[in-house]
């Protein structure tokens, strides 16, 4: 471990009074970064933490000089000092020398950052050729070394692979190999693990920490997730709305946060060791007159034997066939022989890594996918065998909230249309007027103002849109709500609000949830029972406290050990 409190020499990069604005149209300008100052110390990891719209990525792009010149304005007066000179106003040619050689960057989506038509070896060698002048065999040798360094198995073989032939984690490793190819002094990592599964995330974080130490680099690590920061950062800068709320050593930020926003960020993410009745939200800390969150007492979770079963799924299977050759078909078993029971008024958490079949289970149960085999008994009746007409009345009772609130609302409908359409289809409410009244009621229930009825989805933020999606389900008065990664795309503070809303609605309407997520902390918070899936099969199912305390299967143990633990003073001092 490095000493976080050692005497600091002159920093590698000094950002002074940086202001960045974006031109929206002829008249409007949006201030993305409003005069921030911070230092990136040598040979340390600085984490830039903030929610969406905080200006953290814009700051990184400004340091690299990668802001789009046509609509961004870097205000003069701000400075980005690197190596004794201000790089803020440098011409592109000068900046290009810095990028790649002195400063390099890895992005969130490795799939889109690598060029799919070239082999990874070619792309690595290109970096070496451009910045180091290495050619031919020398470049190839160095590339293999780099791939080995970032932990790609069998690098001399994988060097000729195309990006599509690698997994997401391996692609991100290749990106990192490209970034460190020229031994940069500063590595900027913009949400490098957000798109990855939790086990892969842990490996990538370890790799970055390892490389940072070995190459004596500085790392600017940008993330929305404080738990990730706690594991690798030496210093933390917390941003909100283009301003710095707090900065300091990681220890100080985590153990004694001064700013209300930092406190809120630390508290509103669900934790594995506590389950308050309500999660704290930003407003609990920020709004005047509030003095900390209320309802922090523990909520009891778990399924009692007496709870009635509402959904009994037996041996559910779902296969997809892909065409192979002229006549051949290949079967891919997305879900095989999964059985579980959902109890009325309870939440069943469904966790697994990407590709484990958890979403397919959700879609098959409500017949959005046709099952290959098995039964789904809803109050004793098999809904999979029903005709479309028979199923119609059950369709109302099982509803789903999708992951991406930007995609699940029809952009051409007003919120009023979105909310009244389900009622129109199912004949709820006799008149248009009556349905509108019900829609207003649902808007109030999910905490949106009535004026929302007349607006379009694009006028709302992600969290508000997810509330609209929830309200749409509620208009049908369902019994079962399937939440498919419903809070995964949301900022932590918004996530807390939506989780609180879901808990409130469950208390009020006795809803049963199937809560699908890759985020184990969230699942732990909201679930009574947890089901772990891997490769389409059920690995383990138990009460949520039980499974986190004493996981039986090795896969579950591995999954749970990969959860970022946040700040752990004991581990640090070791």
């Amino acid at each position: 471990m490095k000493q976080t409190d050692r005497m600091e020499g002159d920093p590698l990069v000094s950002v002074r009074n940086l202001r960045v604005s974006f031109r929206l149209d002829r008249h409007n300008v949006f201030d993305a970064v409003r005069g921030i100052s911070f230092d990136i110390p040598r040979n340390e990891t600085l984490a830039l933490v903030g929610e969406s719209g905080s200006g953290k990525s814009v700051t990184a792009l400004a340091i690299l000089g990668l802001l789009p010149p046509e609509n961004s304005i870097v205000h003069p007066g701000g400075e980005i000092v690197y190596g004794g000179r201000n790089v803020a106003g440098l011409p592109q040619r000068e900046l290009r020398k810095l990028r790649g050689a002195d400063i390099s960057m890895i992005f969130q989506e490795p799939m889109t950052s690598l060029n799919p038509v070239f082999t990874v070896g070619y792309q690595l060698e290109e970096v070496l050729r451009l910045h180091r002048g290495l050619k031919g065999a020398a470049a190839r040798k160095r590339s293999i070394e780099l791939l080995e360094e970032v932990g790609i198995p069998d690098p001399s073989f994988k060097i000729d692979a195309f990006p599509s032939q690698m997994s997401g984690g391996q692609q991100q490793r290749v990106m990192i190999a490209m970034a460190i190819a020229c031994e940069p002094k500063l590595l900027i990592a913009d949400e490098p693990t957000t798109a990855l599964d939790v086990t892969i995330q842990k490996q990538i974080l370890e790799l970055i920490a390892q490389l940072q130490r070995r190459h004596q680099m500085s790392v600017l690590f940008i993330t929305h997730d404080l738990a990730v920061v706690g594991e690798i950062a030496d210093r933390v800068v917390v941003m909100r709305n283009g301003e710095i709320r707090e900065q300091g050593p990681a220890k100080a930020i985590f153990e004694a946060p001064q700013d209300a926003y930092t406190k809120a960020l630390l508290q509103c993410r669900p934790r594995l060791d506590r389950r308050p009745t309500r999660l704290p939200v930003i407003d609990d800390y920020m709004a005047a007159g509030h003095h900390g969150p209320a309802h922090m007492e523990e909520r009891a979770r778990g399924v009692a034997a007496a709870d009635p079963v509402i959904l009994d799924v037996r041996n559910l299977s779902k296969s997809f066939w892909s065409r192979e050759g002229l006549f051949g078909k290949r079967e891919f078993k997305a879900v095989s022989n999964v059985s579980f029971r959902l109890h009325k008024g309870r939440t069943l958490g469904l966790v697994g890594e990407s590709g484990s079949g958890k979403t397919t289970v959700g879609l098959t149960v409500m017949r959005l996918h046709e099952a290959t085999g098995g039964e789904v008994l809803f109050e004793g009746k098999d809904i999979l065998k029903m005709s479309e007409a028979e199923f119609m009345s059950y369709k109302r009772r099982i509803q789903i909230i999708f992951q991406n609130p930007y995609a699940s609302l029809n952009p051409r409908f007003t919120v009023g249309q979105i909310l009244t359409e389900p009622m129109l289809i199912h004949g709820i409410g006799a008149t248009t007027q009556e349905r509108a009244e019900l829609a207003f009621e649902m808007l109030a229930k999910v905490g949106l103002p009535e004026v929302s009825f007349y607006k379009y989805p694009h006028e709302f933020s992600g969290g508000q849109r997810q509330r609209i999606a929830i309200a749409r389900c509620l208009t049908l008065k369902p019994d079962i709500l399937i939440c498919d990664e419903s809070v995964s795309a949301l900022d932590v503070s918004v996530q807390a609000q939506v989780l609180n809303l879901l808990a409130d609605l469950q208390d009020e309407f006795k809803l049963s949830y199937i809560f699908i997520s890759h985020d184990l902390a969230v699942v732990k918070y909201i679930s009574d029972e947890v089901m772990v899936m891997s490769d389409g099969e059920l690995v383990e199912m138990a009460g949520s406290d039980e499974i986190y305390r004493a996981p039986k299967q090795p896969y579950t143990q591995r999954l749970l050990s990969a959860i970022p633990r946040g700040w752990q003073p004991a581990a640090r001092s070791a």
Binding site: F402, T414, G416
Partner: protein, 395 residues
Amino acid sequence: MSTNAAALPRAHGPKGPREIPQHVSPGLWTLAWRRLRADRVGMVSLYIVAAFLVLIALSASGLIARDWAREVGVNYAPPTFVGPDENATGPGAASATAAEGPTEATTFKSSVVDPIGDVIAELRGEKPADAGPASGGVVDPLADVMKDIQASKGTAAAAPEEARALTLPFGGDKWGRDVLKKTIKGSETSIFVGIAAALLATAIGTLLGALAGYAGGWVDDALNWFYNVFSSIPYLLLILAVAAVLQQKGMSTIILILGLTGWTGIFRLIRAEYMKHKGREYVQAASAIGASNARRMFMHIFPNVSHVVLVQLSILVVGFIKAEVILSFLGFGVPVDVVSWGSMLNEAQNELILGKWWQLAAATAAMALLVTAFSLLTDALRDALDPKLKGLAGH
């Protein structure tokens, strides 16, 4: 959007028991319109296209250019705004076309004997009839022209003739009809054919594309086979074949031909759009709330691909205007008694040898202006409707 607005309370306040806030949000069309308004080139193009549309609406309703067939000027009246006295092209044109005796004589005579114009007007009714056969024996190439004139003489003679102008601001054609009015009438035909055929092709292409893309499976296969058959035959040959089969010439025929052969491009695009949107979460969500297939196809997906339809429609209009011109030029288009840009160009082909350039210039200028403006407008529309730009204006 507007399709299911009826199912909902008016944005201007349902009369409920509670206080309903008044609010009208700009829809995506409104936002697109705002973006289009900010596009200068797009707006200029829009004004030009709108001016053309107003022009053809006026001409179709008979408010202007109703008398386009009247022979108001002398044959091949040269274009000038200043009048016949300082007419420089008159003698030049006369010497260049020394062969056509009677016409030249008329022109010459008229320009000299100006005061007795009304006398000449009376005489002129008989003049071509007398002179026609006489000169027909001498100058062969103009025999058919004379026949045409004779043929039209019946209608021309029915109404009492007033004095023919020696020059017209935009020139006259070989019967002395005003080229300006003829161009306006020709625009009416060409633009009407273009828009009507584009609407037909778009309707066919969108419907089949939506079906193929949404239904998939054997429906998709069958429609794709159909599409492939159509698109594998060279376009112009197909048009000529259909034109030959349908025999009777007329505007509706050519609209039908263009519409039935031109739907393939939009079919392919709309099919791809539907395939893409079918898997989107909002369509899945619609399915989860129990929306029927038809509802998902037309109420949910269609408004989201309608911008593609609009842009394609716009592209097709331009393409079909050009196609109509080519067909009429080749003689497969509108019948001879209907004037279009294509038939004007066809006439101009012979006139050009005689140095009578103004009909060609008028038809070409009108077509170039409209087609260019329409194409630029299409580009501007595409930019304004492109959902990728939505984020910039949204927040």
